[in-house]
Amino acid sequence: MTLQRFLKWGTLTTGVVCLATGYGLVGQWGLLAVAGLVWLAGMLAAGWSMVVFVVLVGLATVGVCVGAWPILMILGATLALASWDLANWEDFVADGLPAETVARFEWRHYTYLALALGSGLLVAIIGQLVSFQLPFGILVLLAVLMLLGVDQMWRLVKG
């Protein structure tokens, strides 16, 4: 088994385990079964990684709504994203890329992925643990600022 495949299946399995644990803790056995089926589909159907990702994020959303532990749900959704990315990377590598090129760029890809998801996950978990209240007006203002910031960043990158 290649490293890419191991990581892809590893992240998918861990993500589904996180979701299943969250459902199990609140007694949502039906959702747990659905998560199990999605995991099975993800393991068997290689070309359906995008669908599996969207369904797992949907399951994580439902889990939050039914009262499952949010950190487990966030972790499950993030690992689903990692699995989707790794499936896409595996397809890219399989498209006639020489082995030496793969070896050269593989770890860089994993580093980028770990940095992006790790930092996002860290902030999300810290946000979960540290709670403070903001007036709604300031929240809207912050959201507008963030949107403008993203827009500016987009123009900077593209320009």
Partner: protein
């Protein structure tokens, strides 16, 4: 943005909308890893100013199993920033068979490195030209994609395969002044005895007929030989879609084009002057010319032509035959459609000698026709129509070669010419 990025953005907005509608802050926190992933993709996306790629295309041709194999090799050099993820792809050519390699390939390049895309396709005939080469560079996650079109021009022409045909001994009504291989029906410096005439000052002494001179005192006689000259030959190739039949990758027109190329080659090899008219869209007319240059022109024209369904060209009667020199020998290569015989009285009226080579469409399609009563009746009808058409042409004293394309053309042409005055009795 590609489908991956759109999916991610849709998920993020879905989660934010869900958070607002359901008053679930946890869903908003869930978007953070996705936002970080998208942000990393945007930051790492290649920008147009930093990408410096150059492409070079080389094309090689070689003949394989009666078809031309064309190998295309594209070398892509990177002199800008490292590109961790990109795809290079070339436009597919219609109607060709890819036998090796791929038209698309993923790659990753550091600055100063080069990647290659190689593929081989096989074709029977055609004209192929490339202008650009496509590259799609993206960030490491494949979210933000930038498509580039790099100049990588190349062109190649695949002429129809030349089948060797034994040289003909033609006897045309009129020849040109240059020395050639066709008896010109007048005295000159040939090899065959032509006659005896009175000696003229300046005649070479070795041509004196000493026996006759001895019998006639104070008179000298010179032997004459038949002059051998070149002829004007015109080829008319029927490139109408309505007379073409397609069977998989093969078509009846390919056989006609191959015959035209082979005949042009043999006539030019014999130093004759050859012209070509392709009755298709666009109509191609190559005025009379000699030698390898003319052969190259003819092969290039035949490489580019495709059967045309232009209705204005449907009637063979309007072929502009005036482009051929008067008293030329005209070879018409056509499978013949209904009423195509009307061209031939015109040709005869202009004083041309004519030979028709007609690839048999019924014989060509026979293997694909269903074996039932209706098909048999239809085949008989088509056969009768064709025979009627051919008999009308034969009545004009025009030799017709009813060519079954599975048979070699060379012996048929020799046989047809042997029965007519077009070929010498030698």
């Amino acid at each position: 943005m590609n489908s991956r990025a759109l999916t991610l953005v849709a998920v993020i907005f879905g989660l934010l909308l869900g958070a607002l509608l359901l008053h679930q802050g946890d869903l908003a926190w869930m978007t953070l890893p996705f936002l970080a992933y998208l942000g990393m993709g945007i930051l790492q996306a290649p920008t147009a100013g930093k990408i410096r790629l150059h492409a070079m295309r080389t094309v090689e041709t070689r003949r394989e199993q009666e078809r031309m194999a064309i190998s295309v090799n594209i070398t892509l050099g990177n002199q800008g920033v490292a590109l961790e993820r990109f795809s290079m792809f070339d436009d597919p050519r219609p109607g060709v068979q890819l036998v090796d390699g791929r038209l698309q390939q993923s790659a990753a390049l550091r600055s100063g490195e080069a990647a290659e895309l190689h593929y081989t396709f096989r074709t029977e005939r055609g004209s192929f030209a490339w202008e650009t080469f496509q590259v799609a560079a993206s960030d490491p996650f494949g979210l933000i994609e930038m498509r580039l079109s790099l100049p990588a021009a190349a062109a190649v022409q695949v002429p129809p395969e030349l089948r060797k045909i034994r040289p003909f001994l033609l006897r045309t009504q009129r020849t040109l002044t240059s020395a050639g291989s066709i008896p010109a029906r007048r005295g000159g410096s040939g090899t065959d005895f032509w006659g005896i005439r009175e000696y003229h000052p300046g005649d070479p002494l070795r041509r004196l007929d000493w026996r006759l001179t001895a019998r006639h005192p104070r008179q000298f006689f010179t032997k004459e030989f038949e002059l051998e000259a070149i002829a004007d030959i015109g080829l008319i190739l029927d490139a109408r879609e309505k007379t073409n039949l397609q069977q998989g990758e093969d078509s009846l027109f390919e056989h006609s084009a191959r015959a035209a190329a082979s005949l042009a080659e043999v006539f030019l090899r014999q130093s004759n002057r050859v012209s070509l008219l392709i009755w298709g869209d666009p109509m191609v007319s190559l005025f009379p010319g000699y030698g390898k240059v003319q052969l190259n022109r003819i092969l290039c024209a035949l490489a580019q032509v495709t059967p045309s369904s232009n209705s204005s060209l449907s009637n063979f009667h309007f072929v502009p035959i005036q482009m051929f020199s008067s008293h030329s020998l005209i070879l018409v290569i056509s499978p013949l459609a209904a009423n195509d015989w009307q061209l031939f009285p015109r040709l005869r009226a202009y004083g041309y000698q004519v030979l028709l080579i007609s690839p048999d469409p019924l014989d060509y399609a026979q293997s694909r026709l269903p074996v039932d009563r209706t098909s048999r009746l239809a085949s008989r009808l088509v056969r009768l129509e064709r025979q009627l058409e051919i008999s009308k042409i034969r009545q004009l004293w025009i030799p017709v070669i009813d060519w079954s394309v599975s048979q070699p053309l060379s012996p048929l042409v020799h046989q047809a010419l042997a029965q007519t005055h077009i070929q010498s009795k030698r």
